[in-house]
């Protein structure tokens, strides 16, 4: 769980879960235990870890870039909330699954047959290059507030560096770029821009302002819980993109700190998606990997554990935001 959360802070959660879920399934087959509880916990912690940093989850990248926040801003704010939540989430999943995951006797039988990790490295030079590029990306992201490099520039720079190091394989790498997702983002920002220009978002912001009557507690409540519920059923990326102009208008009209609303939106959209199997991409990938290995996870099984965990984290987020920012 902790590895999942930490990896998801720097690597996109889909990649983290693709890797961890596959490893979990292999271990489960080797050590004869049910991997489903472990995969569910990994999925949830990956989404939570992604909420801690600016690069961990797409909504955070969008919020940070649009509102001018840095990597350290996210670490100091959503990172703190995610860290506190992670502690309680680990306890929660421990209580839920401890009895299901007793130490397997197969562990002692199989220990001599465990593969040597170094055998997985097929090309030592490529492995070293990839590791160095990854570490450089982290350093650039962590320090971008001082270097004044945008996250977008860092992303493109790292991509170009990877292509240069790939040499003859660069063409194959370019073919694997997810152009559909890039076009999706282009279209998304065009649509959100249209909603903003036509005044639709202003109407939503006014409704929130009128309903809350300028009360910041109610504003935080609405934004946090509506974001969480909406993210559970629709993609959190367009939701976050649409809410940014709304919270900007609210901050201006109601004289409410924009940072408070930004961290609220970030936690709501990042965590809410964990509640259902379709709420976040990591959930889809994790359940698909489990099913392909012969362990189907139904909606009922998934929601039984993850809805409660999501409610727990949203409540912790609400308390943290009220105590620290309001």
């Amino acid at each position: 769980m902790i590895m999942s959360a930490i990896l998801a802070m720097f690597i996109d959660s889909i990649t983290v879960i693709l890797f961890l879920a596959a490893v979990t399934v292999e271990l489960a087959q080797l050590l004869k235990f049910d991997p489903v509880p472990v995969i569910l916990a990994e999925i949830f912690c990956a989404n939570l870890g992604g909420a801690a940093t600016m690069c961990g989850d797409p909504p955070n990248i969008i919020i940070g870039t649009a509102l001018g926040y840095s990597f350290s801003d996210f670490i100091n704010n959503t990172g703190m909330i995610a860290g506190i939540s992670l502690f309680f989430v680990v306890l929660y999943f421990w209580f839920c699954f401890a009895k299901k995951l007793k130490k397997s006797e197969a562990y002692l039988e199989q220990i001599d047959s465990f593969p040597d990790p170094s055998q997985a490295i097929l090309n030592r030079m490529c492995f070293i290059q990839s590791t160095l590029i990854f570490l450089l990306a982290i350093v650039l992201l962590v320090s971008h507030a001082y270097t004044h490099l945008t996250v977008a520039f860092i992303g493109v720079f790292i991509a170009l560096l990877t292509l240069v190091c790939a040499g003859s394989q660069a063409k194959d790498l370019l073919k694997q770029v997810d152009y559909k997702t890039l076009l999706f983002f282009v279209g998304l920002f065009v649509v959100v821009g249209g909603l903003e220009e036509t005044g639709v978002l202003e109407i939503v912001a006014e409704w929130i302002a009128n309903w809350s009557n300028g009360n910041i507690y109610l504003m935080v409540l609405v934004i946090l819980w509506v974001s969480a519920v909406a993210s559970a059923v629709v993609d959190n990326i367009p939701f976050a993109a649409t809410m940014i102009p709304i919270i900007r208008m609210l901050a201006q009209s109601q004289s409410v700190p924009l940072t408070t609303l930004a961290w609220t939106l970030s936690m709501g959209t990042d965590v809410g998606g964990s509640a259902t199997p379709i709420g976040a991409s990591a959930n889809v990938v994790g359940t698909a990997v489990a099913m392909k290995a012969g362990y189907p996870i139904s909606w009922g099984k998934y929601c039984r554990y993850c809805v409660t965990a999501t409610l727990l984290v949203v409540m912790i987020s609400m308390v943290c935001i009220f105590v620290r920012y309001v």
């Binding site: 889909i14 379709i278 359940t287 012969g294 189907p296």
Partner: protein, 151 residues
């Protein structure tokens, strides 16, 4: 020899497939595939049956990088891979439903579509499910597009 059988609900496709399998002494792959495709033994196969040849709920599923959370789709893909592997190693078998005629097209199977008049289908449904005529008609009509057969 590969025989694929598709059928209308209530037309007797399953009975025909069993008879053919017994006659030619070859395996018949139907819902029994679920126990062959690698579902972990801790799962109740009878409960997993609900996913077999079931229509996908679009609203409850998403696809990310070619991976889907839909158990219905994933089980279907595993079953398709199972059938393709059986065909690849030149095993003779009969497959009932499961889009057999489409996914095994390259192996040039003998494809049979079983249909029957509505009256006969209702009559068979009434006998198999112990329903009255009205209920049997409703069930037959409901399952018409899914081409499921009575057991």
């Amino acid at each position: 020899m590969i025989i694929t059988i598709s059928r209308e609900f209530g037309s007797g496709g399953r009975d025909i497939s069993r008879a053919l399998a017994a006659h030619y002494d070859v395996p018949l792959y139907d819902q029994n595939m679920l126990s062959e495709i690698g579902i972990d033994e801790s799962y109740d196969i009878d409960r997993i049956n609900q996913y077999d040849e079931a229509p996908r709920w679009m609203i409850r599923s998403r696809t990310v990088r070619g991976l889907t959370n839909s158990n219905i789709d994933n089980i279907a893909m595993k079953e398709f891979d199972f059938l393709r592997e059986k065909a690849r190693v030149k095993e003779s078998f009969i497959v009932l439903g499961h889009c057999g005629e489409s996914i095994l097209k390259e192996y040039d199977p003998i494809s049979i579509f079983v249909n029957a008049s509505m009256d006969l289908r209702i009559e068979r449904t009434m006998q198999e499910f112990e329903l009255d005529e009205k209920e049997a008609y409703a069930l037959t009509k409901k399952n018409g597009s899914q081409s499921q057969d009575v057991s």
